[in-house]
């Protein structure tokens, strides 16, 4: 239990997927314009990431490792993610149209979100158990949601600021992310590694 809590805190705040592993930067820059869409994207990512990393764990340990097929790791992981996203999308459209309305448009984008594949790869290199993997995926997704929301909040305010021309758009967003990353470094004292 203690390990799980440690994984949660370290993935959620200290080693945040976006700010310290640079995973999921593309949607981070693309979808962080409005708080609403940031919330939708963040929730979709959390959802898919938890399931995708757990499923990858099962396949990696029960199939690939057993039959000595580890060189297929990457191909299999990306297949798992792509098909999972498809299934989630179909399932959502059928059983929860309301949820599909709010998350639906973000789902196809998730396949190429490197945070999902990154979570699966980290789970292998760090030898996580099944529960730890599920926790890792979940807290990683929540961390992504948190940073995306903060960023969207800042950017909504920035719309009213007088920004020098060359910095308008992506440049300022990236610099803001840098300042956020500096701020998040303050969390690193929470757990003594």
């Amino acid at each position: 239990m203690k390990e799980l809590i440690l994984i949660f805190i370290s993935t959620f705040l200290i080693n945040n997927f976006v700010l310290s592993y640079f995973l999921g930067i593309c949607p981070f820059l693309g979808v962080s314009g409005k708080i609403e869409s940031a919330l939708g994207m963040g929730m979709a990512v959390t959802f898919v990431m938890t399931i995708a990393s757990s499923l990858s764990w099962l396949i990696y340990h029960l199939i690939l490792a057993k039959f000595n097929l580890l060189f297929l790791e990457y191909v299999v992981f990306i297949l798992v993610i792509a098909s999972l996203v498809q299934i989630v999308e179909m399932f959502m459209r059928k059983y929860s149209p309301a949820l599909y309305q709010s998350l639906g448009i973000y789902l196809p984008l998730i396949t190429t979100n490197c945070a999902i594949l990154g979570a699966a790869l980290f789970m292998v290199t760090r030898n996580y158990s099944f529960l730890e993997t599920a926790m890792f995926g979940f807290s990683g997704g929540l961390g992504f949601l948190l940073v995306l929301m903060i960023m969207a909040g800042i950017r909504e305010e920035l719309n009213y600021a007088d920004i020098p021309k060359p910095f308008q758009g992506a440049a300022l967003t990236i610099i803001t992310a840098g300042l956020l990353a500096l701020t998040f470094m303050g969390f690193s004292g929470l757990i003594s590694a």
């Binding site: 640079f22 190429t112 594949l117 060359p166 992506a170 440049a171 967003t173 990236i174 990353a181």
Partner: protein
């Protein structure tokens, strides 16, 4: 020629299109890491562009993205095994960011936007240009970060020994800040 040159400046993948951000930011703690990542991307980009351009007529449009992704994953696996065998040090430094080339939007983006609509040779030239652009972008970012963060470039000491390294430049925050200013500088020059 046009296909090669546009990737180097006008449609620079990193500074103008903001594609492939994850590896750009993550592995550029030093110049050598940046260049190795750049070369790996060039290889994957050229070969997957060729493959996509070859099979563009047989792939049904509904599943094309999935097919492209699997092609890319296959080439990335080759590069990964190659690095592990011949450059274990660099392979360790790049860590999970080497396999993450699979979801690098530059590659999928070029396959989708260019290779699936053009012939083989045009696609190879496009891949070469974009890859080269990506390479110099990473080299520049890696050099700046290594220079200020460790006082050296490619491990060669440039700044005097009594220079106090700015650790933040090697940390994630530095990556964002340097890239942000580079993008702004590029905007300034272009306008």
């Amino acid at each position: 020629m046009k296909e090669i040159v546009k990737g180097l400046w006008k449609e620079h993948p990193v500074f103008r299109q903001l594609l492939g951000m994850c590896p750009t930011l993550a592995v550029t703690t030093s110049a050598i890491n940046g260049v190795s990542m750049g070369l790996a991307v060039v290889f994957v980009l050229i070969f997957s562009s060729t493959a996509v351009s070859l099979i563009k007529k047989i792939v049904p449009p509904q599943v094309r993205i999935a097919v492209y992704t699997i092609i890319i994953a296959a080439f990335v696996t080759i590069v990964d095994i190659f690095f592990k065998a011949y450059f274990p040090q660099i392979s360790k430094a790049l860590g999970p960011y080497l396999p993450l080339i699979i979801v690098n939007c530059i590659i999928l983006g070029r396959c989708e936007a260019f290779a699936s609509k053009h012939g083989i040779f045009a696609s190879i030239r496009d891949g070469l240009g974009m890859g080269a652009g990506f390479c110099w972008g990473l080299l520049l970012l890696g050099s700046i970060r290594e220079l200020f963060g460790a006082g050296s470039i490619f491990g060669l000491r440039i700044l005097p020994l009594n220079y106090e390294p700015m650790i933040a430049m090697i940390l994630p925050a530095g990556a964002f800040l340097v890239l942000g200013f580079l993008v702004a500088g590029m905007n300034k020059i272009e306008r």
